[in-house]
């Protein structure tokens, strides 16, 4: 198998897609967003749970490819007790990484393990898969009262 495929489906990604974190919607959401990837019909429902000073956690439910599931899982690990500005900073960093066509390595201070998804940005057909959960989070933030 070429390094291309292994680069895309790294062990971390496969682990997260098989046993996703944050999966299963929790009660008591400050806001919720439902997003669809129109090219494949994949969807996600993502909830934002408020805590002291900002976002305590997210929870989500959906179905999709290994990339989209792993991305939602990695995002769940990242969004723990952050203020809104910090969440937005992470979304922006991830979007920049996804648009980099493989040129950026990603800031692990901001993105943690989610930088493993950087390889996806080389594949123009798949960056939307990786972005789905992040777009849902961005949309949910707008909806927080």
């Amino acid at each position: 198998m070429s390094s291309g495929l292994d680069g895309l489906y790294q062990e971390v990604i496969m682990d997260h897609s098989r046993r996703p974190h944050g999966h299963g919607l929790k009660d008591g959401a400050a806001a919720e967003s439902h997003q669809i990837n129109p090219t494949c019909g994949d969807e996600i429902t993502l909830r934002v749970h408020a805590g002291e000073g900002g976002i305590a956690s997210i929870s989500w439910e959906g179905h999709g490819c290994a990339i989209s599931q792993a991305s939602a899982s990695l995002l769940s690990d990242l969004i723990v007790d952050l203020d809104e500005a910090a969440v937005r900073e992470r979304i922006a960093a991830f979007r920049e990484l996804m648009r980099s066509r493989g040129e950026l390595e990603g800031d692990d201070e901001l993105l943690g393990d989610a930088i493993v998804l950087g390889g996806v940005s080389r594949n123009v057909a798949r960056d939307k898969c990786a972005m789905l959960a992040w777009v849902a989070l961005e949309d949910a933030l707008q909806r927080v009262p």
Partner: protein, 435 residues
């Protein structure tokens, strides 16, 4: 061996012949991700033989000019080529020349019919077009297996006119529920719109029976022929459909050109869809008189080089023989389905092997998303379609959001099908499922 048998043997396409034909398609020599390209996505877009590309280039280099206007030599030659192309396509489907309308693609062809009916419903087209008027109490019948292109235009037409959309459901084996068809198609039915061959399931629909049901109640029949005209002999007159739509790029032709077949007497009574230049006789500041069909439905500058190239594609298909192509692909389709049925974890959508079906197969790999299947195969140089194939309701019917589809054409070899099947067998272990 009897004479007939000898005839049949020589008639069938052989691997040697297909290998020769493949040399006509430059793209089939490409390598993808370090592997020879195995192109199994002809159901989405077919590849073009050099001759088709040459026809388009030759037109641009030697004949390019506007058609149906201008008195200079090039304009006359361009017009002749454009109209000859129409005649070539008409002959190919058993239509008359004035029954072939050029469109951008099949989607536009279907929208043309829907919008013409819509305009008639607003009173356009006068008394001649009264038969196309829809309103409260009228029904438009579609099927659950339609491509969005043969679904949404009818949803919209129903919404605009007050008509009701009725849907013929599917059996688990991917065939139409003909009992439902018989129950749904009734005196309120004005239009029956269905696909000849399902782009996802490979199901070949019983056109004759559906036409008979529609005729019995005086309804119009619209056939989505996108997956049939490129792959099997079609005679629209014999099928007795009122309209048929198909796309050039699925039959060795270029993108940007499609065809609407319409029965002459219907087209002659229908109000136009797009309006503007090239489709009029007399224009005043208040109103316009329209040309007879097909020009009435060809407003604005036409896709001339594409039409000329599509005719070259039709000539190519005719020279190989569309019946021979059909038989070659039917065998490949069976090989695909039989092979997929033997892979653990794979569920084939549509009729089982042994049943007459098109040269394509869609499948779901349990536990692996279609995009991941497609990505894995792509790494092996194998091009398949993944997603909902513009048929979300169909996928919902079978409890999935997406599937993977391999589709063959005259240049597809059994070896390519086998390479694909080998690839599919590797999916389970790579993604850690099905063991």
């Amino acid at each position: 061996m009897s004479t007939t048998e000898q005839q049949a043997t020589t008639d069938a396409m052989t691997l040697a012949e297909v290998e020769r034909l493949r040399a006509d398609f430059p793209i089939l020599g490409e390598r993808v991700n370090g592997h020879p390209l195995v192109y199994l996505d002809s159901g989405a877009t077919s590849q073009r033989p050099k001759r088709v590309m040459d026809a388009e280039r030759d037109f641009a280099e030697h004949r390019n000019s506007a058609v149906h206007r201008g008195a200079h030599t090039l304009a006359a030659e361009a017009t002749e080529l454009f109209e000859n192309a129409r005649a070539t396509v008409a002959r190919f489907i058993g239509a008359r020349e004035n029954e072939v309308v050029w469109t951008s693609n099949a989607t536009e062809a279907l929208n043309l019919v829907a919008y013409s009916f819509s305009n008639a419903s607003l009173g356009r087209g006068g008394a001649d077009a009264e038969r196309f008027r829809l309103g409260d109490g009228d029904e438009i019948v579609v099927t659950e297996m339609e491509h969005h292109a043969n679904l949404i235009p009818w949803q919209e037409l129903a919404a605009r006119t007050g008509a009701t959309l009725r849907v013929i459901g599917l059996s688990d084996d991917g065939t139409l529920r003909m009992d439902e068809a018989a129950a749904i198609i009734g005196e309120r039915t004005r239009l029956v719109c269905f696909t000849h061959v399902s782009n996802v399931l490979g199901t070949i629909n019983p056109v004759e029976q559906l036409v008979a049901l529609a005729r019995a109640v005086g309804a119009f029949v619209v056939l989505d022929a996108c997956q049939s005209v490129p792959h099997r002999a079609i005679d629209v007159a014999a099928l007795d459909v009122d309209f048929a739509a198909f796309s050039g790029h699925k039959m060795l032709g270029p993108t940007g050109v499609g065809v609407l077949y319409g029965r002459a007497e219907l087209l002659a009574a229908m109000p136009p869809f797009l309006t503007g230049g090239s489709m009029i006789t007399t224009v005043t500041l208040e109103k316009a008189e329209y040309l007879p069909p097909p020009q009435r439905f060809e407003a604005g500058t036409q896709r001339v080089s594409q039409a000329v190239a599509l005719a070259a594609a039709v000539d190519y298909l005719s020279e190989v023989g569309i019946d021979r192509i059909h038989r070659w692909e039917a065998a490949l389709g069976q090989r695909l389905v039989e092979g997929l049925e033997r892979v653990p974890g794979v569920r084939v959508l549509g009729p089982a092997s042994g049943v007459d079906r098109a040269g394509l197969a869609s499948f779901v790999f349990e536990g692996v998303h279609a995009h991941d299947v497609g990505q894995y195969l792509d790494d092996l140089g194998i091009a398949v379609r993944v997603g909902h194939h513009c048929a979300q309701p169909l996928h919902r019917r079978f409890g999935v959001t997406a599937s993977s589809r391999a589709s063959a054409y005259l240049y597809t070899t059994p070896e390519e099908v086998d390479a694909f099947l080998d690839g599919v067998r590797g999916v389970g272990s790579f993604f850690g499922v099905g063991r």
